[in-house]
Amino acid sequence: MKTLADLKKIREKAQEDLKLRGGNVRIKIVVGMGTSGIAMGAREVMKTFLEEIAARNLSDVLVTQTGEKGLSSMEPVVDLIEEGKPKVTYGNMNPDKVKKVVVEHIVNGRVVSDYVVATGD
């Protein structure tokens, strides 16, 4: 380690590990993990999100969870919250749909309207 640029490299890599504790988050994915969500496979959905994001090295995307969202009939339910844009809620998610959402919405910025059950707050 000899220059400030070297230090910066280490810092950027290390900030990745601190991502959960705040910092640069572009999109927050909130998976509803109530009893009905879990029963309908919310854990699988979350795992797929985490795997897909890891595989694509999307460092500015944060996956987190919340409790029952009330839309039991459409579980698993996932919110995508992007700074400055209305919240998008996807319903009836499964690992295949997750993959599509990651490619279309998160990477390319196009909402996958087929899966959307609600928008805005």
Partner: protein
Amino acid sequence: MSLKHIDLLICCGSGCISAGALKIKERFHEVLKEHSATNEVNIIETGCMGPCDYGPVMVVYPEGIFYKKVTPDDVEEIVTEHFIKGRPVTRLMLQEDDKTFSAQKDVPFYQKQIKVALENCGYINPESLEEYIATGGYEALGKVLIEMKPQDVINEIKASGLRGRGGGGFPTHIKWQMVHDKKDDEKYVICNGDEGDPGAFMDRSILEGDPHRILEGMMIAAYAMGASMGFFYIRAEYPLAIKRIKTAISQAKELGLMGDNIFDTDFCFDAEVRTGAGAFVCGEETALIHSIEGERGNPTPKPPYPAVKGLWGKPTVVNNVETFGNIPTIFLKGAKWFASMGTEKSPGTKVFALTGDIRNTGLVEVPMGTTLRELIFDVGGGMIGDHKFKAVQLGGPSGGCLTVEHLDTGVDYESLKERGSMMGSGGVIVMNEEKCMVNVARFFMEFCVEESCGKCSPCRIGLKQMLTVLDRITNGHGREGDIEELQRLGESISKLSLCGLGQTAPNPVLSTIRYFRDEYEAHIRDRSCATKVCNDLMHYDIDKDRCIGCSLCARNCPVDCISGSREEKYTIHQVDCIKCGNCFDVCPVKAIDKLPGMHPDVVAHRSELSKAVNQYEDL
């Protein structure tokens, strides 16, 4: 990237560890394994988060949920409810006045705080160099080494107005300038981590929670002065702090942040840890230097100052842990930013260790000039129970106490000194109305007598004299003129002692006389301790109207000084009573009162005794 979506930060400061944080950490590992969720949660040990009274505490990210007083039995619920199902456990959150504070940033304890030296404490893993770098660590060092000349560094510190955080408040840049201006083949920089005040744990917490910050601060200081060797002087009672700083040094060396030609410049630096044996006087810089040299830890007269002739006769700077802790941030955010906080003469923030009869004991950092009221009642959460605030002791055994009338005083070096107290290293002991100020003064005096190194007679003999007078006052033998005697002794000791220990040791006595003279007078003239703390100046008495004659008190008295019967009720023979309080505790009808003042029987007995002694002496 990993699949981990939760950062669990468990506070592993010494306070939380003694409250069982490590057991909880183990339990988390077990439970996560049972639920095969180990790859979803990062368990991170951090340094002190501050609110030690709530310990063991932890924060769960990304939500930033704050849990307090967690026990190993709660772990199962946190894992299944919060980690797996995403439902934070409300039961373990801070609840005050029917309000629940879920996120750490909302907790009132943190509201008025601004963290500079404590910025990363409780936020990063202190044993991870990468996490320190992620928060901007070592960037200041790089910037300083590559872009600035040593004199520019000193000028920047001068512009920031930083003053020594160890207690005296000496401007940091003057010390640095003196060493910078001395030409010598070797210079040294020392970090003073010999924190010995009872009730103080600021330095320990910073060393434990963010060791790299102190190391970086020390390296910037070394560059500014032209030193290439540093020593951390840390007391042996702080094993975790020693371990963490040693880890930090070896990590920095491995990455090339320490050693030869750092950042490809001419600057070379190495540091070692020296362990102190726990003598209070070794916090004094000349004594500390002698201790590092392998000599007995005794102070020597100044001048020569360490900046001129310090460690092994070479120019040396001794700075406190917290002083170093401020330095990297000053270079990252600028001297102007730093000087904009606090007061004009005392810029920046100060870390305090809040202890005593206060609700939120713990580690806090507030801007200089924050009033005692804000510190004690807003950050500290006020007094425990329905008790009233009586006094606050700042600066430990070297400081003085302040009272209700000073609550609106802003805390900075000058305003505290004016009022007979001092900043000290930052220990804040809050006392309620049940504390006897004479007894408090006696406690600190006893501490100083024990810790006096004995080199100079004002401190060695004078403090012992003061303790004798205080002993006399608290055990009911006080005489007219004792208060004046204490003041005379105290003032001479302050003026004549060799080092800071002796010079400041009379402060607690002098300040309590200044603000609580009536208590001293009551102890001497009325032989009465209103707070019933001084054993000889209070007594127990049985109220015959309420006594039911059950004999429990008599049976529990270890010296058989209670007698009576069911009909006559019970009486305490005051002369023999040792004030153990057993009777008071066991009485089923609360017929025993704890009363201030020496009982008339005891007064009579004592005067008879002294008469007998006088007669014997006359013979």
